[in-house]
């Protein structure tokens, strides 16, 4: 068990044509002992590179990585006591499951072959793969390979678990199952875990805290709820949440916001927009409330029934809006829909910098960066 502490991490890749490319810049991050932290971001945002630096598979350009009070920055992967689960599992194709699981112990534990056998049996039983020990990886299904890959990480009882999109090669149903199973397993073992994914749903569902990255820099770290409700900037607000937040640019006139295609919103409290001529307005799909009179007008285009609710896609001029509405509400295409938004649920961002000016301010008040270990569970 260990705390992972990343200080001012910077990683550049040499590239013949373009000089050097900065993949990770100035990342400061602490993963508490026993915590499940999810690194999330679009592809190419530097999340995997960060994870690989922690693993010791990439040298860092500058900065430091510590496990507990041990500086591991210059140690090789095999000296760091970390275990990693790879996206494509990376099982050794020429070894059966038993040998795959036992390989790490054989190389580094000093256990006798009987001791290794026993540990392999224990871990296999724990993961429900006891009957697969004699099989080769290519004879296993995707889900079974996934379990073997997990087992290979668990068996060495590492100080730190690193997972690089371990569920992305599974089908949707299995992915949801494994998600729960992974969380239970992590909870049971209590090993500090860093988990990389590009899937924000997975991040929200699994992490005690999530760290959102973009363009090589850390955007925000916090509990899933904090990141969702109080994003520090427009990027985080846009990336977290499914369907995505609706965003539009509006002119500020005193306390009135005027957007494209006749969008208008009168703020009761105009302090967040004071001194701004224009702002970016963000509205979560679930905060769009259809009304009979007043409000803004939009034209319904598509309704996607989800069973428990409907996704309504509407147009306001060139602007596309998404709303989550009750399942009994089904506007016909072309029908005019009037909607209102509570001011407490409105997000406002600076046009130039994307910094949040106002985020959700209703009764559940979770501030940015506030963190409790039970927050994500």
């Amino acid at each position: 068990m260990a705390t992972i502490q990343i200080d001012s991490l910077r990683k550049e890749f040499e590239n013949d044509e373009a000089g050097s490319i900065v993949a990770v810049e100035d990342v400061d991050l602490t993963v508490e002992d026993g915590e499940f932290l999810v690194l999330v971001g679009p592809s190419g945002c530097g999340k995997t590179t960060t994870l690989r630096c922690v693993a010791g598979l990439e040298d860092v350009t500058s900065g430091a990585i510590r496990f507990g009070d041990r500086d591991v920055t210059d140690l090789q992967a095999r000296e760091r006591e970390v275990a990693m689960v790879f996206q494509n599992y990376a099982l050794y194709p020429h070894m059966n499951v038993r040998k795959n699981l036992g390989f790490g112990l054989k190389l580094s534990s000093g256990l006798s072959s009987a001791g290794i056998r026993e540990r392999v049996d224990d871990v296999a039983e724990m993961l429900g793969i006891g009957d697969l020990l004699g099989k080769k990886p290519k004879e296993l299904s995707g889900g079974q390979q996934q379990r073997v890959a997990l087992g290979r990480a668990i068996i060495r009882e590492p100080a730190v678990f690193l997972m690089d999109e371990p569920l992305s090669n599974l089908d949707a149903k299995l992915r949801a199952e494994m998600r729960t199973e992974l969380q239970e397993l992590q909870h049971e073992l209590g090993v500090t875990t860093m988990y990389v994914t590009h899937d924000q749903t997975e991040a929200m569902a699994m992490g005690h805290r999530i760290a959102v990255m973009n363009d090589g820099t850390l955007q925000q770290v916090g509990t899933p709820e904090a990141v969702y409700r109080s994003p520090t900037n427009e990027f985080v607000a846009n990336f977290i949440g499914s369907p995505s937040i609706n965003l539009l640019t509006a002119d500020v006139d005193g306390g009135t916001l005027t957007g494209p295609a006749g969008f208008e919103y009168a703020l009761e409290d105009a302090t967040p927009v004071a001194g701004h001529d224009r702002v970016r307005v963000g509205i979560r799909p679930e905060d769009i409330r259809p009304v009979n009179a007043d409000g803004n007008e939009a034209e319904a285009s598509v309704v996607e029934p989800m069973g428990n609710e409907n996704f309504l896609y509407m147009g306001m001029g060139d602007l596309e809006l998404t709303a989550r509405i009750a399942n009994d509400l089904r506007p016909a295409p072309g029908e005019t829909v009037r909607f209102e938004v509570d001011e407490a649920a409105l997000y406002l961002f600076d046009v130039a910098t994307g910094e949040a000016l106002k985020t959700m301010t209703d009764e559940t008040d979770v501030a940015v960066g506030e963190y409790t270990t039970t927050g994500g569970e």
Binding site: A55, G56, L57, Q76, A77, R78, V82, A83, M84, F86, Q87, N88, A90, Y92, P93, H94, F103, G104, L107, S108, R152, R156
Partner: protein, 293 residues
Amino acid sequence: MREAQREFAWKVLTYAVLLVATLVTIVPLYWILVAMTLPESAFLSTATEPRLLPGGHFAENFAALQGRVDVAILGVERVLGFELGFLGAIGNSILIATVYTSLSILLCSMAGFAFAKYEFEFKEPIFYSILATLVLPIQLLVIPLFLLMSRLGMTNTYWAIILPWAANPLGIFLMRQNMKSIPDALLESARMDGATEFQVFYRVALPTMKSSLAALSIILFLFQWNLFLFPLVILGQDKYTIPVAISDLIGAQRVYYDQIMVAAGLSIVPIFLLFLFLQKYFVSGILAGSVKE
């Protein structure tokens, strides 16, 4: 033309081409097999009908060959107390080719692994320099190599023909291409599991390369098996390999065709066995990397 007819026509054409290619390959070999069992007069003279079936003259031809050629091997003949004749040359060829193949497989796969999976200064220039040596003909290398070996005191030793080609450029190239297909994650997961770089190589990379190694073994073995000019120059009669021993049968006055046929026939046997043994790996090894499995 209808689809089925066109398909049939293609099939006929394909088999016709394959049949011609097979005949071109098989006929000379078959002729060697027939000729080695006939007296020289039966297949060289125009007075007799050409024979298509083997005769019963093999033992006589073999005895004549054994009487004409005498090659020693590692002093085995002294231990046995009789001379080995041409069989000594076969022994030498097998010994040299086996040692050469083992050593070369080790060097080529290590070099190939480094070129495929590591980054280092001047990697590309070094690799292309190695490839460039493929175009140098042996004839060009004979004199410098001879001088080198004589300075090293290695003339008339097995090492003289094993060492110069041990780091075989073709082998390095093939292993590099195949090693490239090993997923990086596989090597990284071995590193995470606590493997040293050498363990990553021989515990994880090499075992996944079995078919490529089998294919390369045959290529290297054949290369050494067929070497003629340099062994002729550097080896003494006591260490002759098969091609050199056969060339001894071509005298200034007379060419012993019947004995050459026996020698050629016998020289095929070890290679044939090796290929049978490694055949199933050979084909998949040649294809490895080109076809996604």
